[in-house]
Amino acid sequence: MPPEKIVLRFGPETADQPIVYRLVKDYGLLVNIVRASINPHREGSMALELTGERYAEGVDFLRAQGVSVSPLASELTWEKEKCTHCGACTVHCPTNALAMDRPAMTVRFSGADCLVCLMCIDVCPVRAMATGI
């Protein structure tokens, strides 16, 4: 069974919960954390691979806890024409996939560095970031 690649997003309410432990203990899932970014801001994201027969139940559990679950395979698209190059996204991107080029003060997006945490989708005022789902 190939691993399922997913991205979890935690809010301040769930960031301090031992959620990955529950996936292992209660659902017998094999967990491989690809990248994680939680704290010091009490919210964050985690990209991980999950393997196990009770994968679907594990995802149901995550969602019941208020953790958002989305596939890692979904790629983010930067709609360059919409982007105003304000830069509001750059302090929210955990991997600097979205960053300011200085001194031009223009935004650049490097898809290879993208964790697909989807923070940029929420913070972009003009909705220039879109998921490919």
């Binding site: 304000c86 996204c89 001194p103």
Partner: protein, 400 residues
């Protein structure tokens, strides 16, 4: 050559193709290279620009009458309510108005994906917008209902009229609390997780004329990619001087302006609908003002660089919502533009909400228009009140 010049002399030079125009960035460089006096003698106009969210924006619309005629009492454009308490088929659509079925913040933080600002942007782009109106019917205006599609080209007038635009300076917003905040200054992470600011700094129009020596009623401007005018001072126009902790004056702050222009002459590239999670919608407006170098003193201000322009750092968890005066210090736009600032001895990542790259493009566009003779300077009928006018904001007293 004297550095004193009049509007008439500058406009004559524009018509003769001899005008010398620099963007504010270029003026800063020129003054650094060859000094103030020589630059003031050579340069006629300095152009500025800003491209940021400006909530107090909207459009007056006249739809034309259907047959039979109608006194539209309630009007919706793509389900966003427009104020119709005006003559029969006039309405005003505000940027922050939201669809009536929007969940708002009932599922906090709300997304606010669509609002008046987005309708304005669709109109500017020439896209069809659904117009729905109801009325009570009169002898002269019998029609009671209407539903149709309109485009900007179909209707009589669309006048962008923004009661408060182009803030002279703005807070650098931070969050000292333990929870994430969703504000009009964007998402603010807890414990000084980020610092969001919203000014083009050395390109920003009102920072470059802090004494209001040149900007007034009738000043011709770049507005939304077309030509607009300064109509009046903006609401909450309280021009003053930002000071450092010890009281040392730093730069201008508090001025605003009201701007108007024909939406039909604008370009959707310079009017964008914006959504701020947990807060609402806003219109990102492109606005640029040419500053006539009437004297060396005007150039002194117009050539102030980011190193000499500052923003007050304000906490949006306690101080701002509860209107507690004061700030957590000041930071220069030069520091902010590096992407990190020091606040309360912490290194804090900084991000703009206003596009510096687009502000630069606006200043260059305005420069081109003037150099090509397409844009003459408008001499103000009266200047906007300056810091000496003593305008101060009132607190609304809530009476039991």
């Amino acid at each position: 050559m004297s550095s004193e010049r009049t509007y008439e002399e500058i406009n004559a030079r524009i018509k003769a193709g001899k005008v010398v125009v620099l963007t504010a960035e270029e003026a800063i460089e020129r003054v650094r290279d060859q000094g103030l006096t020589r630059t003031a003698a050579e340069v006629d106009v300095v152009t500025t620009g800003t491209f940021g969210p400006m909530c107090s924006s909207g459009v007056f619309l006249n739809f034309g009458h259907p047959k039979p005629r109608m006194k539209m009492q309630k009007v919706w454009l793509n389900d966003v309510l427009a104020y119709a308490g005006l003559a029969a088929v006039d309405a005003y659509l505000g940027a922050t108005e939201l669809p009536e079925n929007d969940p708002l913040n009932s599922r906090y933080p709300g997304e606010f994906r669509y609002g008046g600002a987005h309708v304005i942007a669709e109109l500017a782009a020439g896209r069809p917008v659904r117009l729905r109106a109801t009325a009570y019917g009169t002898d002269c205006y019998p029609r009671r209902e209407l539903e149709t599609a309109i485009t900007l080209g179909d209707i009589n007038e669309a006048i962008l009229f923004n009661p408060r635009n182009c803030y002279q300076n703005y807070n650098c917003a931070v969050n000292v609390s333990d929870r994430t905040l969703h504000t009009y200054m964007g998402t603010l992470k807890p414990r000084l997780g980020n610092a969001n600011y919203c000014s083009a700094g050395q390109l920003s129009p009102l920072l470059k004329d802090p004494q209001f020596r040149t900007i007034g009623v009738g000043t011709r401007i770049f507005l939304g990619g077309g030509i607009g005018y300064v109509a009046w001072h903006g609401t909450q126009h309280f021009p003053g001087t930002l000071t450092a902790a010890g009281g040392r004056p730093l730069c201008g702050a508090g001025g605003t302006l009201a701007a108007l222009g024909d939406l039909k002459g604008m370009d959707a590239r310079w009017l964008a609908g914006a959504s701020f999670r947990g807060y609402g919608t806003s219109l990102v407006v492109g606005l640029g003002i040419p500053i006539p170098i009437l004297s060396e003193a005007v150039l002194t201000d117009a050539a102030k660089p980011d190193e000499e322009l500052f923003a007050p750092v304000v906490d949006y968890s306690e101080a701002y919502p509860n209107a507690v005066p004061g700030n957590l210090g000041t930071v220069s736009y030069a520091q902010l533009k590096t992407g990190a600032v020091t606040i309360l001895d912490r290194q804090v990542p900084a991000a703009p909400l206003s596009s510096y790259a687009k502000a630069r493009e606006i200043a260059h566009t305005l420069k081109d228009w003037i150099q090509r003779g397409e844009f003459l300077l408008g001499q103000p009928a009266q200047l906007l009140p300056g810091p000496g006018a003593g305008l101060r904001g009132q607190t609304l007293t809530v009476k039991g």
